[in-house]
């Protein structure tokens, strides 16, 4: 582990009562990085985020931020911001007072306060809404108030809980751009929690995939998308055809099935292989599948095949000849197109 990391989680263990939710988590985040904690609900990502914020006590291990051990520092003294999924704006205060809330607690008053609040509101494009109550704003505007409220505090780390999940498609793009701009302008370190792989892939510098309280894989979006290390990660990022390997053969419910070509030298130790639907060769190959379902998806056409390997999902260009439901199609799973999995779980 790098000694110079900005935020370090060192064997951090989190528990609800006696039930350990996150055991001995190790994570190092560099200053100015945008990190995504990705995983299904219950994987411990939100628990981890709450612990970094100080809302959940750390059972054992350490949290070190900017060279200071903050494991036992109270949540209100950590300089960590959190943008809640529900935004958590104060309903009885105006937009202005929401943004001024933390600054006033710091003792800031008068023109200094006013300038800072106005600047915060202007940066998210809401200067003209200063006197409104949160309930009078749209969801997207409320979220930007929440962002401004956190950012005027100049936090060392900004945590974001599912920042895009409550927004419709258009606002989602706006907010993504907004977050990237804020990060570029201020250089703040951001960690966001999401269950949506597309959100993580499009926004993060690095993605931390979590499962059952443990880190499954850490990597760049390209790493995670193209080189998943385990069946869990592969499944999570859209590899639909995943098989364990045994003695160089695919292990299926119908026994061991030999591959059409030998395994390459790079993957002698692979525990499994995974193919996206796009990686399945359709129309030729040693395997036979019966078309159970097909659907047109614009550029491409998707097929669901029943075969000796089990259920196979394939996706080919829409310009290719159509295979009717019930017909038999030849297909291949080529080893050199597959993503090799070092762990199968």
């Amino acid at each position: 582990m790098s000694k110079t990391s900005y935020l370090t989680l060192d064997k951090m263990t989190l528990a609800y009562g006696d039930a350990v939710a996150v055991p001995e988590l190790e994570l190092a985040v560099e200053k100015g990085e945008l990190i995504a904690l990705l995983g299904p609900s219950g994987c411990g990502k939100t628990t981890t985020m709450r612990a970094i914020a100080g809302l959940l006590p750390v059972k054992s291990g350490r949290v070190v931020l900017d060279g200071v051990d903050i494991t036992r520092v109270a949540a209100n003294k950590r300089a960590v911001g959190l943008m809640f999924q529900s935004y958590a704006l104060f309903p009885h205060l105006t937009v202005y007072e929401n943004v001024a809330f933390g600054l006033r607690l710091k003792g800031m008053r008068g023109s200094e306060l006013d300038a800072k609040v106005r600047a915060g509101l202007t940066s998210v494009g809401l200067a003209q809404f200063a006197d409104r109550k949160p309930a009078e704003l749209s969801g997207g505007q409320q979220q930007r108030v929440a962002l401004a409220r956190s950012m005027v505090m100049e936090p060392k780390v900004l945590l974001l809980d599912e920042p895009l999940s409550n927004l419709d498609a258009r606002l989602r793009l706006d907010m993504r751009t907004e977050l990237q701009r804020v990060q570029k302008d201020t250089g703040v370190t951001m960690i966001f929690v999401t269950h949506d792989q597309a959100e993580a892939l499009s926004l993060a510098d690095r993605i931390v995939v979590m499962k059952s309280g443990r880190i499954e894989q850490i990597g760049t979006p390209e790493d995670i998308y193209n080189r998943p290390v385990s069946a869990f990660v592969a499944d999570f990022v859209g590899f639909e055809n995943i098989f364990p390997l045994e003695a160089g053969k695919l292990k299926t419910s119908a026994g061991l099935v030999p591959l059409s070509q030998p395994l390459s030298d790079q993957t002698p130790s692979a525990a499994g292989l995974a193919w996206r639907p796009r990686m399945v060769t359709l129309g030729s190959g040693p395997f036979r599948g019966t078309v159970r379902g097909t659907s047109f998806a614009g550029h491409t056409r998707e097929y669901l095949l029943d075969s000796v390997l089990g259920e196979i999902k394939a996706e080919v260009d829409a310009s290719e000849p159509v295979h009717a439901i019930g017909t038999e199609v030849a297909f291949d799973l080529e080893a050199d197109r597959a993503a090799p999995l070092s762990r199968f779980n």
Binding site: N76, L82, F84, F90, P91, F101, K106
Partner: protein, 260 residues
């Protein structure tokens, strides 16, 4: 078809007459010029309305009842708000036990509580009757306070408190800055409900009277047994208009019925 169109107005007329008619009769009777309680009233005068204010025992017991209703409800809120907060925001071991204990005074008939307090606190401890009445009314109102305040806490997202803490507030500060302003309506509603409940309560206060210390409704019942003039009717009307006025204003400005 005719039967069905007639059904609604006839049923409503009968039910509302039964529920509200007696009250209107009391109001009418309090303007009587006669010496005894009767309806239709004999003539019109305001003498009984005025007389209410001259009866010493009514003035004293009104003051006692006001003190108990305001003080008891305030005390119940002081105890009830933190308890409601603990029940709705914390994982409290034995939360169900606490909830049951705190709401117990609503289940046990007041007359039993009154007698129990008389036998086991007033007599052995030589405690002041006003103090005991105050404690008893606090206990009586507490379940209502907890219920109404809990309901408004449930309607308030708890993450705004965490947001306040992360912006630098202490936990206590977050409660006063963020929680309290947002449950003000619920607290006022609880206060009004508690006030009306305490003010109208009879059985609880029945055994808890001492020379000069008596609640107004108990005093009214005692007065009725001796004197059969319209002054109790006049007093009843005045009190009824007072409570209806308070509740109406509360509904108008707070949306009282949301919390009750």
């Amino acid at each position: 078809m005719i039967a069905r169109t007639l059904f609604i107005p006839v049923v409503l007329l009968l039910v509302l007459t039964f529920l509200i008619g007696p009250f209107l009769i009391i109001v009418a009777a309090s303007f009587s010029a006669g010496e005894t309680l009767a309806f239709p009233p004999q003539g019109f005068s305001l003498q009984w309305i005025f007389k209410v204010f001259t009866v010493d025992s009514f003035r004293a017991s009104f003051a006692t009842s006001m003190l108990l209703a305001v003080g008891g409800t305030a005390a119940a809120l002081l105890l009830g708000i933190p308890a409601s907060y603990a029940l709705s925001r914390y994982t409290l071991p034995g939360a169900e036990i606490v909830r049951t204990v705190v709401s117990a005074p609503i289940i046990v008939p007041g007359i039993i509580v009154g007698l129990a307090l008389l036998r086991y606190i007033v007599v052995p401890m030589q405690a002041s009757m006003t103090l005991i009445l105050f404690l008893a009314h606090t206990a009586l109102v507490l379940p209502y306070a907890v219920r109404v305040v809990s309901a408004s806490l449930e309607n308030l997202r708890s993450d705004i408190e965490e947001a306040a803490v992360l912006l630098g507030s202490s936990r206590l500060g977050a409660f006063f800055r963020v929680v309290l302003p947002n449950i003000r309506g619920g607290i006022l509603s609880a206060f009004i409900l508690g006030f009306v409940t305490s003010f109208n309560q009879v059985p609880l206060s029945l055994f808890l009277s001492a020379p000069g210390v008596r609640t107004l409704p108990v005093d009214m019942m005692a007065y009725m047994e001796i004197v059969f003039d319209p002054s109790v009717a006049a007093l009843s009307s005045l009190l009824a208009f007072l409570s209806i006025g308070i509740v109406f204003a509360a509904e108008r400005f707070l949306g009282f019925s949301r919390y009750v």
